[in-house]
Symmetry: C2
Subunit: 487 residues, 2 copies
């Protein structure tokens, strides 16, 4: 099952759809989550919070998306977060200069070429507008941050954050002090980021407004080599594609550190924790890889980088950028703000940072693509039960003889604790199918026997078997079925 089928399900069953769609698609790259998407997304975030934030003892913050200009002077985004673009002198369409060259030469163009170098390559390859064949302008830099003004008069310049993590760097001094942290300390945040992408595309894949779950681990670089939690993951297997290879191969964390593939134990530990999180999303480990980033692929702030990627019908897709940002960000903010951001850790140190920057929207999409399964005549979203957007559906077998009242009573009993859907229209088979395609693990049916002995059938999504259970036992049964993995 591929992109088209997921997109169709998403639209028809209200997982996600374009923003302001009644106005046509004037603004591409903005999407909405409908009720089923909200529920799936919130559960993915809750799984992330359990398996990453709480399991590791991270501290979560939730920061402002509007930040003053100086923040981005310090972070380098004012200067560095800009794409090279050319404009068609005939039709006016705008294109990424590097992508245009890549399409012509069929190879990657390094990220750090100057405008002049790009113009040289465009000329050499006789590039023309891909829309109308027109002549192209010279290359200019287009900053992808959204700018706005704050205040009524001579508005103060501010930007929508292009990555959530800048809030974390700004909050670090207070959080570290007031929460009585020691290094290494990990801060986490889930929230929106904004990028004025030139070519947004493919639904949740390349958005102008997206949801990120970012983790920044602050550590003393002198101590990253010997990390006490490393023994918890040393045998954990990662699929790794090093820079000098075009294939991925399995490595234990121990082996990967020993052979120098992963720089140190601390980084290996967090890469393993992240893989273990994805193992619980239902995406098969065999469809994922850590790909090492070369200098020309890395963001401007990163000294080393790994992308955790997933194989989809659209090709390999980045889900999490894992960047070794060194002390780049704290150093920048210390310089620009004039504050001393060093902290004590057997002597003064400006912490280094390793980051796990997860795209929640892409993760939601990938979970859907990997769990949507066609089985004979039925389409089933085989997500793990704890991620299912609707946890239980309640049906009266027929709409008479008191069955709807009893079904509604059960619906009411379950509704504050679970996401429940009540459905009384169409045949039972058809109602099961509707729930199958959105992944509902349990369907409770009230039938004639219910009225006699207070039992209902509970039908399992995957086995399609129906068990009879006492009405009293439903709540416990469902709680057990849909609860998050513990331990």
């Amino acid at each position: 099952v591929g992109y088209e089928e997921v997109a169709k399900l998403a639209l028809e069953r209200c997982f996600f759809f374009p923003a302001a769609e009644i106005y046509g698609d004037a603004l591409a790259g903005f999407w909405e989550y409908g009720p089923l998407g909200v529920s799936l997304k919130n559960r993915v975030v809750e799984l992330w919070r359990r398996e990453m934030v709480r399991r590791d003892g991270m501290l979560e913050v939730d920061g402002s998306v509007i930040l003053p200009e100086r923040v981005f002077a310090a972070s380098g985004h004012l200067r560095g977060f800009a794409d090279p673009v050319v404009e068609c002198l005939r039709c006016g369409s705008v294109h990424r200069a590097d992508k245009l060259i890549e399409q012509i030469i069929g190879a990657l163009v390094p990220e750090k070429l100057s405008e002049k170098e790009l113009d040289g390559l465009l000329e050499k390859n006789q590039a023309r507008c891909p829309k109308c064949g027109g002549q192209l302008s010279k290359t200019r830099r287009f900053n992808m941050m959204f700018k706005l003004g704050v205040g009524a008069r001579e508005a103060a310049p501010a930007y929508l954050r292009p990555e959530t993590c800048q809030s974390i760097f700004l909050d670090f001094p207070r959080v570290f002090r007031t929460m009585r942290c020691k290094l290494p300390a990990a801060l986490a945040q889930v929230g929106r980021s904004f990028r004025n992408e030139i070519s947004p595309r493919q639904g949740l894949i390349r958005l102008r407004e997206m949801i990120q779950a970012e983790i920044e681990i602050f550590f003393n670089p002198a101590k990253a080599g010997d990390y006490h939690k490393f023994r918890l993951v040393e045998d954990c297997e990662l699929s790794i594609q090093p820079l000098d290879s075009s294939e991925r191969k399995p490595f234990s964390c121990k082996q990967a550190v020993k052979e120098g593939l992963i720089a140190n134990e601390l980084i290996a530990y967090y890469m393993a924790l992240l893989q273990q999180f994805y193992d619980k999303t239902g995406i098969p480990g065999s469809e994922m890889r850590y790909r090492e980033m070369g200098a020309e692929e890395r963001a401007f702030y990163a000294e080393q980088g790994w992308d955790l990627e997933v194989r989809t019908s659209l090709g390999w897709l980045e889900l999490v950028a894992c960047n070794y940002r060194t002390d780049y960000d704290l150093r920048g903010h210390a310089r620009e703000s004039g504050r001393d951001l060093a902290i004590m850790d057997e002597g003064k140190v400006l912490p280094h940072v390793f980051e796990l920057s997860m795209g929640i929207d892409r993760t939601v999409y990938s979970i859907m693509e990997h769990s949507l399964t066609r089985e004979k005549e039925r389409l089933v979203l085989k997500v793990p039960p704890y991620l299912a957007p609707i946890q239980v559906a309640v049906f009266p077998l027929v709409n008479r003889k008191g069955l709807p009242d009893e079904a509604k009573r059960i619906h009411n009993m379950l509704r504050t604790s679970f996401d429940v859907f009540y459905d009384d229209s169409g045949s039972i088979g058809r109602r099961y199918r509707r729930q199958d395609e959105v992944g509902t693990p349990c369907c409770v049916t009230v039938d004639y026997q219910t009225m006699e002995d207070k039992t209902v059938t509970v039908r399992d999504r995957d086995t399609m078997l129906q068990d009879r259970t006492g009405v009293d036992a439903i709540l416990g049964h469902i709680r057990e079925k849909v609860s998050f993995p513990s331990g």
Copy 2:
């Protein structure tokens, strides 16, 4: 306990603090939630989701915060969401014209006066700049929406939504169709809104970037008088201050509808549901009131309105605006988009809307102010246990004889399921105090006896009593203590 003490606790214990504070307060009105604030806020949202969204069977969406200009042409915000301002011709400071007049005359100025009328009043009252005494400019309108441009060339005008509900109106057609809704249908959303306030102030009270939880109930106006859920709340008591009164008085919902104080049963039902939600936040019902809004206080889209207010050390504070928006919004979007947004409900109807627009930040603040209690030498945040930011703290009595290892084992056992804080520094009494002031309901202490019989003490925040419990029973004990009210 008042505003200053809450603000102090918030800063010192990392509930909330100014955004980008290392840069000074160049941009007022932007705040961050630290780890304890994130946790408290998320639990308030979860309570709202349980008690409002799920209990009533509402459908939740999560929409884009950037929306195209036409949306706000349709909604009336381009024209109507503007404050009248004057500028000081000497010092350049900007002031709300109406507020300036109100300060001089000591009475409310109607919201709908023209610039000319305001200039007349300013002149008549010889208004001068309150900062420097300088002469003032003429009144102009200042639109409070943040504007930005989308796309690389001739950027498309767009705005940050000033209220989350516009996403709901835009999503209504698809959600209603694909979720197979019938009227009345309620859509809900929690998310950020943005207002370029001229005078942001007082921490979470007046923000430029805020979190709203909004509910829009779409209904057939011909049927609102007789609403089947009304019987569930008819005896529920609300404290109501009608337009013609300067005092609030208790009314049952039944009485309030009968006497024509509340327009119809549907509106009364949702006002009661909302009050029942707040009853579960720990804010005493005696400190809240529904105040009817006069024409001059209502927003431009509202035909009737109630503010649910709470008494705080800062005076009465609006927590939820309850507005009868009629078909104003759907009519506007139908006109501007050219789509027919009417739906079938025994004939074609353009639904009317009643809205509950909740400020989450103010709600968080008010819960803190009303629960923070000084008891002899201790400061206790007496929030309901299911809202406590830290659910359980784990202490080793001393840092030797194997106690820390056992305490860490227990910490690990609890950490994915609960928000747990591990503390091994200072006397036990001092560690209890630290937890009391952030509201932690349970403190588990590992002592010498633990090493002999596998029991620990569990200390209760409110009674300060310590119970001995088996290590095996801790998880169940805490789950019971901190779980949300069911039913």
